[in-house]
């Protein structure tokens, strides 16, 4: 990979002049930015795909020379939305070409990809079809950036060459024409998200690079190759020790002619944070108000860096071997603030300003259920004359991913009644009408699969039981208790947001009126659930 990066750098250097010319000539830039956290029933929702898309969209609009009317942001859209936007951009590109403008079309996608197709919610778009569509788009340069699992298969397919194999044409200064594809991971790798940075590693580093972190040349412009090289280095480094393994972004191109493409013009906008030459070298983290890393900057010795952060207040962190150096900086509108090392202070690692996110909150959702339950005490004598087997109707509400991902906090309420008979030890029978209200809260762990979601957990129920007698002289009797238990079940996704839940519970019940008796009971329930 190092070979490829070297080659990329060389390519960037050789084509530098042409790129600047192209930029100067007023390259019309069109962008479609897509983010979708969901990918259908057989995928687990992502946390930050939409945030990544917003971030890239903001950078392209603010620094990438993409006019507002030429940029489309699609969040949680469908494949048809993407194709429709692509058709619109193709029309714009064709019009621009007819007016003699050179056009660059950039498509960024952050979301799920599986089985050779991008997943946009419950819709799919075959990668090969999108690639062909992009290849045929009437733009001089087509750029596809795909941040999704196994997106590297796009760079394996026919018509594109992986970075390590590309050749550099050094003759002539023709403007580049063709297609470039960047992917966040190789064809057999997952693309990973990070709760600390609040995004995917690849998009985070790509964004940091586009903000200026990738400007190796220090000319205030970040080219496609620079951005890729920066994102590659940082993504591999950050994911090397992750449980999912290192993630290797890929790059391929099918270009005729020469010329790197400037993606962002950091120098042209005197707004952001300036790292003077005197600032200590190292990796600087610029943390936004939410505790997310807005940008990472590698500051080399004796080099300047300019990061085009959006106006706002940031905390600055630089990590040393034994401590942190932290501080705060304010970036005003149209203001280029300069980092002053003297304003930073030493801080222990415990005071790391990077707090990250509660990722489960991003996925927090409610499910409502309505169904029936059959409940019975294990002990036969108690079941016959104390607490009869009871059919119940109930509702439940479940809060998913509130405490942590795939944890479900549930609340349920059920009412039921039954008839029973007390067999007195002195002989004779006393018939009664039994009724019960059960209110419970449960903590479950679920494992979402394609259509089936098994779950297990614990439940605590408040049981309010009472009975009345045909004999008017016998007073109403009642019993209330807290009953702990375990739950296991299966949810079957039906259609839309509807599901069918089958659930079993086993509970402990301490009966202590006549005597202390440990009774257990079981429940079988089925319910129709609806995802809000």
């Amino acid at each position: 990979m190092r070979r490829s990066l070297t080659a990329l750098a060389l390519l960037a250097a050789l084509l530098w002049g042409a790129a600047r010319d192209a930029c100067a000539q007023g390259l019309r830039r069109l962008a479609i930015v897509v983010g979708n956290d969901t990918g259908g029933g057989d995928t687990r929702p992502l946390l930050y795909a939409r945030d990544d898309a917003r971030k890239v969209y903001d950078i392209l609009s603010r620094l990438g020379g993409v006019r507002a009317e030429d940029a489309t942001l699609i969040l949680d859209g469908t494949a048809q939305d993407l194709l429709s936007a692509l058709g619109d951009m193709e029309r714009r590109a064709r019009d621009a070409g007819q007016h003699g403008e050179r056009v660059a079309l950039l498509v960024y996608f952050s979301g799920h990809a599986k089985d050779g197709a991008l997943r946009l919610g419950k819709t799919q778009l075959p990668l090969e079809a999108l690639k062909n569509r992009l290849a045929q788009a009437p733009a001089d340069v087509r750029i596809g950036i795909f941040d999704s699992c196994r997106s590297g298969m796009l760079t394996r397919t026919k018509g594109a060459r992986k970075a390590p194999a590309f050749e550099i044409e050094s003759k002539g200064a023709r403007d580049a024409k063709g297609m470039v594809i960047l992917t966040s991971s190789a064809s057999d790798e997952d693309s990973q998200e990070s709760d600390l940075i609040g995004g995917s590693y690849f998009s985070h580093h790509l964004a940091s690079g586009l903000l200026g972190g990738a400007d190796r040349s220090g000319d205030g412009r970040v080219t496609l190759f620079e951005a890729y090289a920066y994102a590659y280095d940082r993504t591999v480094a950050d994911t090397a020790d992750s449980a999912a393994g290192a993630q290797h972004p890929t790059f391929s191109y099918d270009l005729a002619g020469n010329g790197d493409l400037v993606l962002t013009d950091v120098g042209g906008r005197r707004e952001g944070l300036f790292f003077p030459r005197a600032a200590p070298s190292g990796v600087y983290y610029l943390v936004d108000g939410r505790g997310f890393v807005a940008a990472e900057v590698v500051k080399n010795p004796d080099a300047e860096r300019r990061i085009a952060l959006a106006p706002g207040r940031y905390r600055v962190k630089r990590r040393l071997a034994d401590r942190l150096r932290v501080g705060e900086i304010e970036i005003g509108h149209g203001q280029l603030s300069t980092l002053d090392e003297g304003t930073l202070r030493d801080a222990p690692f415990a005071d790391d300003p990077v707090k990250g996110a509660r990722p489960e909150l991003a996925l927090t959702r409610w499910t409502l259920g309505l169904g029936g339950t059959y409940q019975a005490i294990f002990d036969a004598p108690a079941r016959e004359s104390l607490f009869p087997a009871t059919g119940m109707l109930g509702i439940d509400a479940q809060l998913h991913n509130f405490f942590r991902r795939d944890w479900v906090w549930g609340f349920d309420l059920a009412l039921g009644s039954a008839a029973g008979t007390v067999n007195l030890s002195t002989g004779g029978q006393v018939p009664f009408h039994f009724s019960e209200i059960a209110a419970g809260t449960s903590m479950l762990v679920e494992w979402p699969h394609a259509r089936l979601t098994p779950f297990v957990g614990a439940r605590l129920a408040l049981l309010l039981m009472s009975r009345t007698f045909d004999d008017p002289q016998l007073p109403k009797q009642s019993f209330s208790t807290l009953s702990p238990g375990v739950v296991a079940g299966l949810k079957l996704s039906l259609f839309g947001d509807l599901g069918l839940v089958v659930r079993g519970r086993v509970h402990y019940l301490l009966y202590n009126v006549d005597e202390n008796r440990s009774l257990g009971y079981w429940e079988l329930a089925s319910a129709v659930s609806y995802d809000l």
Binding site: S385, L386, S425, L474, F479, L482, V513
Partner: protein, 305 residues
């Protein structure tokens, strides 16, 4: 804080361990306590009876049944007041209800009930709040279950003297003592009630003692025997009559009287029969020959119980 509020708070606090009165054994104890339906005399009646159109001794029998029921309801009300509460103590073969404040200010009341096999005993006791030294018993009862719920043999004894001596009003009028023996094992159900009253200065004519016997079949056929004091036979002395009334579930009945003491006709017997509309169809009173009506054949055949 009332007893009920205390109970609710205790339930909330003790929810983890469970709380309530949901008890099968409580049912056994409560089923052993006498109830109004068991100790009530039911004489057939109709709504809107016209006074003067009904037989004299039917009216008397009905009135006596109301007195009979009034007596039993008075002491059963005391038991019901306690029974409406859940037991405060549950021990093997023992339940205690209360103590709770009694109607009589400054007194507490409780009921202790013990069980030995199928026999239950119970005591309704009072204690002054200011002197919680010992409990004074007002009611003592026993009940032996014979064949299931509310089938058994019971005795109830009420003695108001200890409470009156301690300065408390038992809430039972001028009752001195009362004994009740009842059998509900099988039909006919019968109840025997004997009482003695203290003098009522406002109503000196009230009986000082009395004895009632009541029996009823499942089909409504019943009988009520009672002592009755009035001035049926002209003269200065109040006459004592021993009356035995019997009736069918459909309403027809008869009353057979014997003069126990009085101005005259001591030992004489009289009979009155009535139809299902409670109108007299046969009257034979030796001391009132002019009232004679009908013949013995006009009386319905009513088996003895």
């Amino acid at each position: 804080m009332t007893f009920r509020k205390l109970l609710v708070v205790s339930c909330l606090l003790g929810a983890v361990a469970g709380c309530g009165n949901y008890s099968n054994e409580d049912l056994e104890f409560m089923a052993a306590l006498p109830e109004k339906p068991e100790l009530s005399a039911e004489v057939p009646t109709r709504s809107a009876l016209m006074l003067g159109e009904t037989a004299e001794y039917y009216r008397l029998t009905r009135n006596v049944s109301l007195i009979f029921n009034g007596i039993t309801e008075a002491f059963l009300g005391l038991i019901d007041t306690i029974r409406a509460l859940p037991p405060t103590t549950r021990q093997p073969n023992r339940r205690i209800w209360g103590p709770v404040p009694a109607k009589q200010e400054g007194w507490m009341v409780r009921m202790v009930m013990d069980r030995a096999g199928t026999t239950f005993t119970y005591d309704l006791e009072f204690q002054p709040v200011s002197d919680p030294g010992g409990w004074l018993r007002l009611i003592h009862g026993t009940y032996a279950v014979t064949s299931g719920v509310r089938h058994g043999v019971g005795q109830i004894g009420i003695d108001t003297k200890p409470l009156r001596a301690a300065g408390a009003d038992p809430g039972l009028g001028f009752l001195d003592y009362l004994t009740v023996d009842y059998t509900t094992s099988s039909f006919p159900i019968d109840v025997k009630l004997t009482f003695a009253n203290f003098d009522n200065p406002l109503k000196p004519s009230d009986p000082k003692a009395g004895h009632y016997e009541y029996a009823v079949q499942s089909n409504g056929q019943g009988a009520l025997s009672y002592d009755f004091f009035n001035d049926s036979i002209p003269g200065p002395v109040l006459d004592e009559l021993l009356v035995t009334s019997r009736w069918l579930g459909t309403g027809e009945g008869r009353a057979d009287l014997q003069v126990v003491s009085g101005d005259a006709f001591v030992g004489a017997e009289a009979t009155e029969c009535w139809d299902r509309s409670f109108r007299a169809v046969y009257i034979d009173k030796p001391w009132a020959p002019l009232e004679r009506t009908g013949t013995p054949a006009d009386c319905a055949a009513i088996p003895t119980l």
